[in-house]
C-alpha cells in the first residue's frame, strides 16, 4: 500500500520528478566519468609504457609517476653508463615533451636504432621508420583523430614535420620524432627525460635495478611490468584530492536538488500529511514514506546516470578517439551508493519537518 502511494506521488508531478531524476543522473554520470577519465588515461598510459617491451625505466630525481610531466631532463651520457652494467642488453634514451597547442599530447624524441633494440621496433601500418630529421611517426589512433596519413605535414612546436609512418598504437607514445631534432627545438641539447633499459633476460631485472640504484641513487628506477599497478590516482600527487573534490561537488549538487525537490513536495503535501496523521500515521511512517519516495527517485536517477555515462563516453570517444574513459562495475556501484546516501541525506530534513507538522494546521493548509 505504501509502495502504491509512493509510486503515485512520484508520478503525480512528473516534471518535478524528472528534474530530481536528472539531478541524480548528472551526479552519478559526473562521478563515473571523472573517475573513468582519470583512471582511463592513467591505465592507457601505463599500458603504452608497458607495451614498449623494455624491462626498466630510469627517470630524473624530480620526475613524477605521470611521466608526461617529467621535466628536468638528464644528461644523455647516462645511457652509456647504463649500457655498461651487467645484464643490460640495450638502453634507449627518450626526451618527452608535452604539447597543449591544438591538442593535448606528449611527443617522444627517440633514437630510432636504440629504441628498436629495446622495443623490438614498431609495427608499421603505413610508411617507414624515422629516417630524416623532420620525420614524425604517428600511431593509428592519433592518425585517425587528426586525419593524417603518410606524406602529410604535421605541425608541432611551430615546426612542420613530415609523417613518415603510421604505427600500431600501444607502444610508449602516440607521436615519435628524432631525438636530436626535438632536443634542438626545445633547447635540451644532449638531454633525455627517461632511459629505457632492456635486460639480457627478464629474470635479471631486479639485479639490474639494484645496480642502477647504486649508480644513480636519487633517480627513480621502476620495473615496467609493474607500471600499470603503480599508475593509480593515489600515486599521482594531487590527483586523488582532485577526484575527491569533484565527487564531493557532484554529491553536493545532487543533495541540494533532492533537498529542494523534497522540501517543495512536503510543502505541497502539507494537507496530505495532516490527513495521514489524522488516520493515525506515526512520525516514523511519514518519514519512511518520504524516504521511500526519495530512494525510488534516486534509483531511477542512478539508472539514468549510468546510461548517460555510456552515452557521454561514446560522444567523447567519437570526438576524441585517443581519449580513454574507463567505466567499471565497481565505480558504477560506488557512484550509485554515493548518490543514494546523498539523496537520503538531502531528504532527511524535509522528511523530519513533515513528521513534525501539527496535524490541525496541516489539515487547514491551502
Amino acid at each position: 500500500m505504501m509502495g502504491q502511494l509512493v509510486l503515485r506521488n512520484l508520478f503525480h508531478r512528473p516534471m518535478r520528478t524528472l528534474i530530481g531524476v536528472m539531478a541524480v543522473a548528472v551526479e552519478v554520470a559526473l562521478v563515473i566519468l571523472i573517475v573513468g577519465l582519470t583512471s582511463g588515461i592513467l591505465q592507457e598510459t601505463a599500458k603504452r609504457i608497458e607495451g614498449i617491451g623494455a624491462d626498466i625505466m630510469v627517470q630524473s630525481p624530480a620526475a613524477q609517476m605521470l611521466i608526461t610531466f617529467s621535466g628536468s631532463p638528464m644528461p644523455i651520457k647516462i645511457a652509456d653508463r647504463l649500457a655498461e652494467l651487467k645484464y643490460v642488453q640495450a638502453v634507449a634514451p627518450a626526451l618527452l615533451q608535452f604539447n597543449s597547442t591544438g591538442g593535448v599530447e606528449t611527443v617522444w624524441g627517440i633514437d630510432a636504432q636504440s629504441f628498436r633494440d629495446v622495443s623490438s621496433g614498431f609495427v608499421f601500418l603505413q610508411g617507414h621508420d624515422l629516417q630524416d630529421p623532420d620525420d614524425i611517426l604517428v600511431d593509428d589512433w592519433q592518425a585517425k583523430a587528426k586525419h593524417v596519413k603518410v606524406g602529410d605535414t604535421y605541425n608541432l612546436f611551430n615546426h612542420k614535420w613530415n609523417v613518415a609512418g603510421v604505427i600500431e598504437h600501444g607502444k610508449g607514445a602516440r607521436l615519435f620524432v628524432p631525438l636530436a631534432t626535438l632536443q634542438d627545438l626545445v633547447g635540451a641539447h644532449d638531454k633525455a627525460s627517461i632511459f629505457l633499459v632492456k635486460c639480457t633476460h627478464p629474470d635479471h631485472t631486479e639485479d639490474v635495478i639494484a645496480e642502477i640504484k647504486d649508480l644513480l641513487p636519487n633517480h627513480p628506477v621502476r620495473p615496467l611490468k609493474e607500471f600499470m599497478t603503480l599508475m593509480t590516482s593515489t600515486n599521482i600527487p594531487g590527483l586523488q584530492t582532485f577526484i575527491d573534490a569533484m565527487i564531493a561537488l557532484a554529491v553536493s549538487i545532487g543533495l541540494l536538488v533532492i533537498f529542494l525537490t523534497m522540501y517543495t513536495t512536503v510543502l505541497e503535501r502539507t494537507r496530505d500529511i495532516g490527513v495521514l496523521k489524522s488516520l493515525g500515521a506515526s512520525k516514523v511512517l511519514i518519514v519512511r514514506a518520504l524516504l521511500m519516495e526519495t530512494t525510488l527517485l534516486c534509483v531511477l536517477g542512478i539508472a539514468a546516470g549510468v546510461g548517460l555515462s555510456y552515452l557521454v563516453r561514446a560522444g567523447f570517444l567519437a570526438l576524441f578517439p585517443t581519449l580513454s574513459i574507463l567505466i567499471t562495475t565497481e565505480w558504477i556501484l560506488r557512484a550509485g551508493l554515493i548518490a543514494l546516501v546523498g539523496a537520503v541525506l538531502g531528504a532527511s530534513y524535509p522528511a523530519w519537518l513533515a513528521s513534525r507538522k501539527d496535524p490541525v494546521e496541516a489539515l487547514s493548509y491551502d
Binding site: L5, H12, D272, V275, L276, S278, L279, G280, S282, V360
Partner: protein, 248 residues
C-alpha cells in the same frame, strides 16, 4: 437497550449480544484549550464538560469561532488540551504523549472532514485501504467489501477523488473513517461542502451507521436540519457548552 450491530456481525451474520453501557465512551472534564496570539492568550475552550455514551449520536452546534472544531480536534487527539481531562474509551488523552495519542487515534477514532481530505493521488480503493494499512491490520477484503457496499461505493472504487462528486468523495471519506471499526466517529461539518441532496444522503448514512451498527458519532454542524438525524444536540458558545438537550 436496543441490540446493536457492528460491522463484524454483518460480516459473520450473527448479531451482537445486548449491551448495557455503563461508562461514557467519551468524557471531558473541565477542558480548556488556549491559543497564543503573540503575548495574548485566546481561550478556544473554557472548561468544557462533555459526555458521550457508546452508541450515541451527538450534534454539536454553535456560531463560527465558538470552539466546535477545537473541541473535536482535542477529543480526537489531533490537538493537545491546555487544561482538564479527555477520556476516550477509558484512556486519558491529556496524560499521553504525541506518539501515544497517535496510536489511540489509529485504533479508536475515525475522522470525517468538511473538505473530504482524500489523498488525491490514490483511488477510492486506495484511500480506504490506506487506513487499514496505517491501522496495521493490513487489507481485509471481506471487511472492505462490507463497508463499500454499505456506502454504495462499489462502482466508484477505481476512480480518483478528482473524478468523483462531492457526495461520493464524502462517502469514501466515511468508509475510510469506519473501515477499522473505531470506537468514535468524529465528523467536522461533513455536509458543509455538499448540496442539499448529497447532504441528505451523507446524513442518512451517518444515521444508519449509528442505528444499524451502533457507531458512536459526534458531528459538528451549522445546519439545524441535520440535528434531526441525531440523538442529542449540544450547543456551544464562546468556548463553553450552553445546553445539550436530546434531539427529540
Amino acid at each position: 437497550m436496543a441490540i446493536t450491530v457492528t460491522i463484524r456481525s454483518l460480516m459473520d451474520g450473527k448479531p451482537d449480544a445486548e449491551r448495557k453501557p455503563l461508562d461514557p465512551i467519551l468524557k471531558t472534564e473541565n477542558l480548556w484549550k488556549l491559543y497564543h496570539a503573540g503575548k495574548v492568550e485566546v481561550p478556544a475552550l473554557r472548561g468544557v464538560n462533555f459526555d458521550v455514551l457508546p452508541g450515541e449520536s451527538v450534534a454539536v452546534m454553535g456560531p463560527s469561532g465558538c470552539g466546535k472544531s477545537t473541541l473535536l480536534y482535542v477529543i480526537g487527539g489531533l490537538a493537545r488540551a491546555s487544561r482538564g481531562k479527555v477520556l476516550v474509551d477509558g484512556n486519558d488523552l491529556t496524560a499521553m504523549g504525541d506518539a501515544e495519542r497517535t496510536k489511540l487515534r489509529r485504533s479508536k477514532i475515525g475522522f470525517v472532514f468538511q473538505r473530504f481530505n482524500l489523498l488525491p493521488t490514490l483511488t477510492a480503493r486506495g484511500n480506504i485501504a490506506i487506513a487499514q494499512y496505517i491501522h496495521g491490520d493490513g487489507y481485509d477484503p471481506h471487511r472492505f467489501d462490507v463497508v463499500t457496499k454499505m456506502l454504495g461505493l462499489e462502482g466508484r472504487l477505481h476512480h480518483r477523488p478528482s473524478e468523483m462528486s462531492g457526495g461520493e468523495q464524502q462517502r469514501v471519506a466515511i468508509a475510510r473513517a469506519i473501515i477499522n471499526e473505531p470506537k468514535i466517529l468524529l465528523a467536522d461539518e461533513p455536509t458543509g461542502n455538499l448540496d442539499t441532496k448529497n447532504s441528505d444522503i451523507v446524513l442518512e448514512m451517518l444515521r444508519r451507521l449509528n442505528k444499524d451498527l451502533g457507531q458512536t458519532i459526534v458531528m459538528i454542524t451549522h445546519n439545524p436540519e441535520a440535528t434531526t438525524y441525531f440523538d442529542r444536540v449540544v450547543h456551544m458558545r464562546d468556548g463553553i457548552i450552553v445546553d445539550g438537550v436530546p434531539a427529540d
